[in-house]
């Protein structure tokens, strides 16, 4: 019988403006929390997966992190699918454990994106970090929000999506963050606040855009038979998928449809479940438009219906499909490339029934979705609190 792996520990550093902690220190905070949560011995970790950071140059991120933690893993990997890295990292940890390459894999990612440099420098470095093509896009002056604004404008043109519908996503994420004690931005906002916030790159306002934060998260993945002597029941990966339909946005001819179509199709097929079976969807939310397009591409509504789908509280707690219940990148926290990893942590928390005030009642199946580049590379996981 196939050796099955599950997620048995999760941890977060403090998220927000965390002055005076380096990327490696934030990661260590999260690791210690995850190890304590799992109830494993630190020395038993024999696999390590991480993502790159952008605030420092690490020649081999998994080696740098392992060395900092003082461990000598039998398996190391740096997973780089930009914003989808954190989600994909968990799938690849499950593969490493199920194939027998290691028994207890640690996934960790995070950085001090906010306090390392000024916010202006973070914006400039993200604009020139490769999301925009260095020769054919950067010279025209897009900020990262511009690249997603091009998707939003086209979506509005094709389907009549409105700025108020985009704003509804931001308002919902802020409401969720208000129920998350570790979230970065917790004060409630209204649709009028979003529409009245500074225009960054039309049609995206400041509050349509992810925030910039410090923070790290960690997860422990191990085999089902090791779980007997652990504190937590494992959360299982039931299905996963990857997709990529374009690299850069400028030469892509179908702006409103992404590789999430492919990653979602494969994840649902492997898990053998339907969209209507999903209790909570932790969906990557770098911009408000991202959530609307992903809901469509993942099959929760028809193409073009995403704007109407997010209205009326449908994606909020208590709605038909609670989405990104920790507050996401829009409000919960966004330490850059590792930000999507927090969506996995929240999915696990929901499936354990440990999400406190923001708990989705009787959550048994969670979808987690990561997106990297400019809606370019996608990874979808379906997690469950039982193995089938």
């Amino acid at each position: 019988m196939r050796r099955r792996a599950g997620i048995v520990g999760i941890g977060e550093s403090r998220v927000g403006r965390v002055s005076g902690r380096s990327a490696l220190q934030l990661q260590s905070d999260a690791v210690l929390a995850a190890v304590a949560d799992a109830g494993i011995k630190f020395d038993d970790i024999d696999g390590l997966l991480t993502t790159p950071v952008r605030v420092e140059h690490w020649n081999m991120p998994s080696g740098v992190v392992a060395n900092n933690l003082g461990i000598r893993p039998r398996f190391l990997s740096t997973v780089d699918l930009a914003g989808a890295s954190g989600v994909a990292m968990v799938h690849q940890a499950v593969m490493a454990v199920e194939s027998g390459q290691c028994d207890i894999a640690l996934c960790v990612a995070g950085q001090n994106l906010l306090s390392h440099r000024s916010r202006d420098e973070a914006v400039k470095s993200m604009a020139e970090s490769g999301s925009a093509h260095p020769q054919f896009e950067v010279p025209y002056g897009p900020v990262v929000p511009s690249l997603y604004a091009l998707i939003a404008q086209r979506h509005m043109h094709e389907y009549g999506t409105t700025p108020a519908q985009l704003a509804e996503v931001a308002v919902t994420m802020r409401r969720h963050a208000g129920l998350n004690p570790n979230a970065h931005k917790r004060d409630p906002i209204t649709i009028a606040d979003v529409l009245g916030s500074r225009m960054i790159s039309s049609p995206l306002h400041m509050l349509d855009c992810a925030i910039v934060s410090d923070g790290a998260a960690a997860a422990i993945v191990t085999t089902e038979d090791r779980v007997a002597d652990m504190k937590r029941r494992p959360i299982f990966l039931l299905g996963q998928g990857y997709g990529l339909r374009h690299g850069h946005i400028g030469d892509y001819k179908q702006l409103t449809t992404t590789g999430a179509v492919d990653s979602g199709r494969d994840a649902f097929a492997l898990a053998g479940v339907e969209r209507t079976d999903i209790d909570v969807a932790e969906i990557y939310d770098c911009f408000t438009i991202t959530v609307i397009v992903e809901l469509e591409d993942l099959g929760f509504c028809a193409k073009g219906e995403g704007g109407r789908f997010v209205e009326g509280g449908r994606i909020g707690l208590g709605g038909a499909l609670p989405v990104t219940t920790h507050g996401g990148l829009l409000s919960g926290g966004h330490p850059g490339l590792p930000g999507g990893f927090f969506h996995v942590i929240e999915g696990v928390r929901q499936l354990r029934g440990e999400a406190g005030e923001r708990q989705v009642a009787d959550a048994e199946l969670a979808l987690v979705h990561g997106n990297g580049g400019v809606a370019s590379v996608h990874c979808t996981l379906i997690l469950g609190n039982s193995r089938n």
């Binding site: 020769q135 025209y140 091009l150 404008q153 043109h157 790159s201």
Partner: protein
């Protein structure tokens, strides 16, 4: 059209893209075309994305196209663009098929719409380096 004060990050041509920038210098828009299937593509790739053919040649396109999407940038990525704000970043669908990013110039930002017909123009941003831009046709 020149702008000697232009401070934007400038493209650094590489072996795969040098013919594009060499053509732009002569105010021609040139792209890779597959000799097997006849389709243009952009950005330049070593293998035709339409048919997998590897025999590619550079050929000029008309420079005529339609605005596929656009955004008006109010918050620039760096001080190099501050004097241009607000400016339009657009994706242009060329009549020959390829899409490319550019700026729409010589048109008030609030008048730009998806579907507008546009035509290429060139801005010399430094000695020997011209950037293709588009203006309303």
């Amino acid at each position: 059209m020149t702008a000697s004060s232009d401070r934007r990050p400038f493209p650094i041509p590489d072996p795969a893209t040098a013919p594009y920038w060499a053509a732009a210098r002569e105010h021609r828009l040139s792209m890779t075309r597959c000799e097997t299937c006849g389709e243009f593509h952009f950005y330049p790739r070593p293998i035709c994305p339409h048919c997998g053919g590897a025999r590619l040649a550079w050929a000029d396109v008309s420079g005529n196209g339609t605005i596929y999407s656009f955004t008006v940038v109010q918050r620039p990525p760096s001080p190099a663009f501050t004097d241009m704000v607000p400016y339009v970043v657009a994706i242009v669908a060329l009549d020959e098929g390829p899409h490319l990013m550019s700026n729409i110039v010589d048109c008030p930002a609030k008048q730009v719409r998806i579907g507008m017909r546009v035509r290429v123009t060139f801005l010399e941003i430094r000695e020997g380096l011209s950037l293709p831009l588009f203006k309303v046709a």
